[in-house]
Each structure stands twice: as C-alpha cells, then as structure tokens.
C-alpha cells in the first residue's frame, strides 16, 4: 500500500520548503550519525543504561571462558552429585558452593548462563544477519525491478507470513534431520536454528526495504546514475542500498530481541539448542520443570538474563528508531 500516498500526492511541485528543511536540520544523514545520534544518546539515560547492559552481556558472552567459573559444556568437569545446589548454599554431597546454584545436571547456573548467553546471542545475531541479507536483497530486487519479480517475491512473503515461525522452524528441523548426517547434527542444530529463525524473519526486512526502495528509486540521484549508464546492480548496491539502511538498522535491532526470544521459545518447545549445550531458552525449559519444586534459581536467573537482554536490546531499538527518525525532532 506504500505507493498509495505517492500516487495521490503527485501534483503541483515542491517549492522552497525544502530549503527550510535544510536550514532547520542542517544535518540530514551523516550529521545524524556524527552529532545528532551521539547527542541524543548522551541525553537518553535509558539508552545509555540499555547499551551498557547489552554491552556487558555481549562481552560476558564473548569472554565466557574467562569469566565463567566452570565450563558447563565440558562434560569432564561436571559432577552430577552437584545437581540442585541452591545459590550460595554448600552442596549436601560434595560441599561445593555455587553463587547462582546448579541445575539438574550439576552445572553451575552462573557459568551455564554465560555459555547459554553465547549461544542465544550467536543464534540471534546470525539469524538477524541472515534475515537481513535475505530480506534486504529481495526487498531491493522487488522494489527496484518491480514487475513480476516484485509480485513473486511479495507473494512468497505473504505465504511466509501465513506460517508462524514455530511451524517454519519445525519444518526446517524436520528437513534438516532428514538430510544432515548424524555426526554433524549437534553442530548443525545451531545453524538450523539460525536458518529457521532467519527464514521466518526476512519478510519485514524485505517489506521495509521494498517500500524505501520504491521511494528512493524515483529520486533524482538515481535517475542521474541511470543517465550515466550505470547498471541496475550498481545502482541498487551503491546508490539505493546505503540510503535504505537506517530503517533496516532499526528493524535489525528489534529483530535481534525477537530472534533471541524466538530462540528461547523454540528451545523451550524442545526443538532448539542441543541439551548438552543449553541456550538461555533451554535453561528456562529445564528450569520451568523445577519452578514448583523450589529450585527456582534454575528458571529465575536465566529468565532474568533473557529479559534483561531482550529488554535492553528492545530499548536500544526503540531509541534508535526515534533518534533516526528525522521527523521526530
């Protein structure tokens, strides 16, 4: 529906107003980056806290081997008898004490969260990256080329939207299980997860990019490039792409939060990360079984981490959306 307003608004031409815009907002794009974005960041305590939390979590994930007290993915370091130790209370059998307690396998919850965070973030980032590349490419093609290319891409997007991501994931998992040899399945599980989440996420990138491309491609700088004889590919890549990226950035941030949640939901439903390498979602799934039994920490700490992560990423996305929106000044 995006071309509707344009079609109806076509009419007498713009005038000096544009000049005003220039004077009002001396900075359009680059300066938004250089000054406005930074300024708005400095003046948004929420954004700063969110960025801090996100950064802290990302760093913790990256340097998990350094900050974690144990490596929960290394089976040789585990002792089943440590299972269900409460936070800060010495284990009845082994006498070991764990800050955040242990889970049913005797894994230190603190370390497991760090490693789980790694998987959640990795899956989230890669899934969004995948969706982004796919969606942006298809959106660009659909918007720029139009015609049947656009029809096909956008109808496929419609079909895609009809399927809830969980079903897409189930489908991909099924297929993957059918074609991937067993020895690779454990490593592949993560990639399958990425594929599944990415595939259910590309549509919004495609839609937004298509809309923006439709606007950009009629701008005169594109015509100027065509006039020179630039190929469609070069125009899409060099001219249009950089100009449709800022909404993509916003969506990507928000998608990241959604992807992390989607990963958690899938792992919660049992089709996600392998149990020997639990992600935050797997931890919550495990922890949920112990909610009523008093081992609250197995659910509570991973859930808090997930919430903190999703929330701060969402906050960042929200702030970015406002900060990048020139009309919201």
């Amino acid at each position: 529906m995006s071309d509707l307003p344009d079609a109806t608004r076509q009419g007498p031409k713009p005038t000096e107003r544009l000049e005003t815009a220039e004077v009002v907002r001396p900075s359009r794009w680059r300066a938004i980056w250089d000054a406005d974005l930074a300024w708005s960041f400095r003046h948004s305590p929420v954004a700063m806290v969110a960025a801090f939390v996100t950064l802290a979590l990302v760093l913790a994930a990256i340097f998990a081997p350094l900050v974690a007290t144990t490596n929960p993915f290394d089976p040789s370091s585990l002792n089943l008898m440590n299972g269900f130790s409460a936070p800060g209370v010495p284990n009845a059998f082994t006498g070991e004490t764990f800050w955040l307690g242990t889970d049913d396998q005797g894994r230190d919850v603190y370390s497991t969260i760090l490693y789980g965070l790694r998987i959640s973030l990795f899956v989230g980032f890669m899934a969004v990256l995948f969706a982004l590349v796919l969606g942006v490419t298809l959106g660009l093609l659909a918007g720029y080329l139009g015609g049947w290319t656009e029809t096909v891409i956008m109808r496929v997007a419609d079909v895609q939207l009809t399927f809830p991501s969980i079903l897409v994931a189930l489908l991909i998992f099924g297929i993957a299980r059918g074609i991937i040899p067993i020895e690779y399945r454990d490593q592949m599980a993560i990639w399958v997860l990425i594929l599944a989440i990415g595939l259910s996420d590309w549509v919004q990138f495609a839609r937004v990019v298509r809309g923006a491309t439709l606007v950009e491609k009629n701008k005169e700088y594109v015509q100027a490039a065509r006039l020179i004889g630039r190929s469609s590919g070069a125009i899409m890549l060099r001219h249009i792409l950089p100009n449709v990226l800022s909404p993509v950035l916003v969506i990507a941030t928000i998608s990241l939060a959604l992807a992390i949640i989607a990963e958690a939901t899938l792992s919660f439903l049992g089709v996600g990360a392998p149990p020997t390498q639990p992600s935050l979602g797997t931890l919550i799934r495990i922890g949920q079984d112990f909610l009523f039994s008093g081992e609250w920490w197995i659910l509570f700490f991973p859930a808090c981490t997930l919430l903190a992560l999703a929330l701060s990423v969402n906050l960042l996305g929200d702030w970015l959306r406002d900060a990048l929106n020139p009309r919201l000044k």
């Binding site: 009419g11 007498p12 031409k13 713009p14 005038t15 000096e16 544009l18 000049e19 815009a21 220039e22 004077v23 001396p26 900075s27 359009r28 794009w29 680059r30 300066a31 701008k219 005169e220 700088y221 015509q223 100027a224 490039a225 065509r226 006039l227 020179i228 004889g229 630039r230 070069a234 001219h239 950089p242 100009n243």
Partner: protein, 328 residues
C-alpha cells in the same frame, strides 16, 4: 549546426486499471498522452526552453531527450545519433557522455550517503576514466571551494547543492545539458546566482541547454528560443522577445497575463478561466479551446498544426489575433 533534433516525439502512458477491473467494470484501456507529436531542433550553443504548466509534458520530453524514457513514437537525434535505434555501441556511448541532466530538487538529486567528490566524478569514474583532481577543479568552476570535496551534500545549502549538480553534469564534458526546472526550488537571490553561473558556463564550455521551466520570467531571461507546451503539445515556438511582446497563441497570452508582475500594483485583471483538462481525456480539436476566449467552431473540431508564424511557429487557427490584457 543542430545538436538536438526532436521529431514527432510522442509518449503515451498506459494508465489503465488492471485487466480484471476493466473486464468487470467494462472499462476501456486508458492512455495518457503525455507528449504528442512534438518536434523541434536545438542548434549548438543555444538554449532552448520549454515552458508550460504542471503536467504539460516538459519533464517527459526532457527524459526522452536524455534517454531515460523511451519514446512511444518519434525520434530524438543527438548529433545525428538516435539512442533508441542506434546499434553501434561506441556511438551510443559517445552520445551518452555528451548528455547530462540537472534536476529540480537539489536535495533528491545528490546521493546523501556519498561524498561530494564521489558524486561529481561518478559520470567519469563509471566509465573508468581518470578522475584525479577533477572534482576540485569542477567545484571551483561552479563557484565552490575545492576544500568541499570531502563533505556530504547535507552540509550545503540548496543553491550550493545545485552547483554541485552542475559540476557533476560538467564532469563528462557534455555538449548538451537538460535542465529540468533547475531553480524552481531556490530562493530568488540564489536563483539569480545559479542562472548567472549557468550562463557563464555555457559560454565557457560551449554548452547547449534544453531548459525546462514553468516560470516565464526565468525562461525569458535564459532562452534563445522558447517552446510553449500545453497538454503535451507544442503550441507555440518563438524567440523570447517576440513571444513576450506579441504572443501568437492565446494560451501563451494567457500565461503571460496570469504571471504576476512586479510593476503592476493592484492590477485588476480577470483571471483566466478554468483549469488544465484531464490529460487522459483531452478536449477534441485544439486542446485549449474550452478555455480560449477566441475559440470558434473550427477549434472544437480540428486540431491545428504547428505552422511557421513570424520568427517562430504556432499551432492555432486564429494565430496572431490575440492581444495581451495587461500589456504595459
């Protein structure tokens, strides 16, 4: 010598509804004739101006001349080469680099993510030419500082941006520059700067301009020959002085009358009647007849051809019978 030769140029847009709608609602196909049978020549080193109100087909002609849009019929020949029919790649390439265009909106015509240097040299760089020092030189030519090459478009005012557009247009050393309302987004004082600069460059580089504008005063200042468009048709063509003092077509006269004038305080003239008709379904005969004070029966039936008249050409059955109302 004629650089640009436009022959019976026509462009029809299909604005029909989707076939299913037509089928069910029993609608015919609808065509919008944006440009109809327009012919004119532009001699080298002259400025040919197209004026006309919104929707009269000025930009469409401009785009066809530079090759951004294919004509439905008719030809555009540039230096004897028709970009549409020419087979020789080298000739096409040569002609392409001979043509450049400047657009109306100085904000939309520069890629906001590119540095000025890259913008300016793109026409050459895209062809793999050597561009060292080129941007700096061109910037100085259009009256900006060579230090500006590293900046982004948003760091410039509208007038400066239009200068950058001109610099870009000059990069490939073109013969023809099509200017589609290059100053209508600018303030008068800045407009004067840009127009002056364009005149200077024309002399310096031996350029030919196809100058598109809806502003009669600007056209009068810039053009060597003016073509007046109405609903996609060329209704009159004449040198500025003739056109403004003795317009031959009633539409031209109406335009000149309607344009506000600095020297006419409290001028009370009857404003022109009516508005531009729907281009999809233009009036029969002379398209201007419903608004024309001189219309006779013949005008409703027969479309007048563009015939030589005085120093120019005019398409009117009653050519020359008009007088300007507010003429001083």
């Amino acid at each position: 010598m004629t650089l640009v030769s436009v022959k019976s140029l026509t462009r029809v847009f299909d604005v029909s509804k989707p076939w299913l709608n037509r089928l069910i609602e029993r609608l015919p196909k609808r065509h919008l004739t944006a440009v109809s049978d327009v012919s004119f020549d532009i001699p080298e080193r002259t400025t040919y101006a197209l004026v006309g109100e919104s929707g009269s087909g000025k930009s469409t002609i401009g785009k066809m001349v530079v090759g951004l849009l294919r004509p439905t019929s008719g030809h555009v020949e540039i230096g004897g080469v028709d970009l549409v029919t020419e087979k020789d790649r080298a000739a096409i390439d040569r002609v392409r680099s001979d043509i450049q265009m400047i657009f109306q909106d100085p904000f939309a015509s520069l890629n906001p993510r590119w540095r000025v240097r890259d913008i300016i040299v793109e026409p050459v760089a895209a062809r793999g030419g050597d561009t060292t020092g080129m941007a700096e030189r061109l910037l100085e030519q259009v009256g900006l500082s060579a230090d500006d090459v590293g900046k982004y478009p948003h760091q410039f005012s509208g007038g400066q941006r239009q200068r950058i557009c001109v610099a870009r247009a000059l990069a490939s050393e073109p013969k023809l520059i099509v200017c589609d309302e290059p100053t209508s987004a600018l303030d008068v004082s800045v407009q004067a700067q840009v127009l002056n600069m364009m005149s200077d460059l024309k002399d310096e580089h031996g350029l030919t301009y196809l100058f598109i504008s809806h502003d009669l005063t600007v056209v009068r200042h810039m053009a060597d020959t003016i073509g007046v468009l109405y609903l996609g048709r060329l209704v009159e063509e004449a040198p500025p002085e003739t056109l403004f003092t003795t317009p031959a077509h009633p539409y031209t006269a109406m335009l000149i009358d309607a344009a506000p004038r600095l020297d006419a305080f409290g001028r009370e003239v009857e404003p022109p009647e009516g508005e531009i008709p729907d281009p999809i379904d233009p009036p029969k005969g002379c398209a201007f007849h419903p608004r024309c004070p001189l219309a006779i029966d013949r005008c409703t039936a027969e479309r007048p051809a563009l015939k030589p008249f005085g120093p120019g050409r005019v398409a009117c059955h009653r050519a020359g019978e008009i007088t300007l109302k507010g003429a001083a």
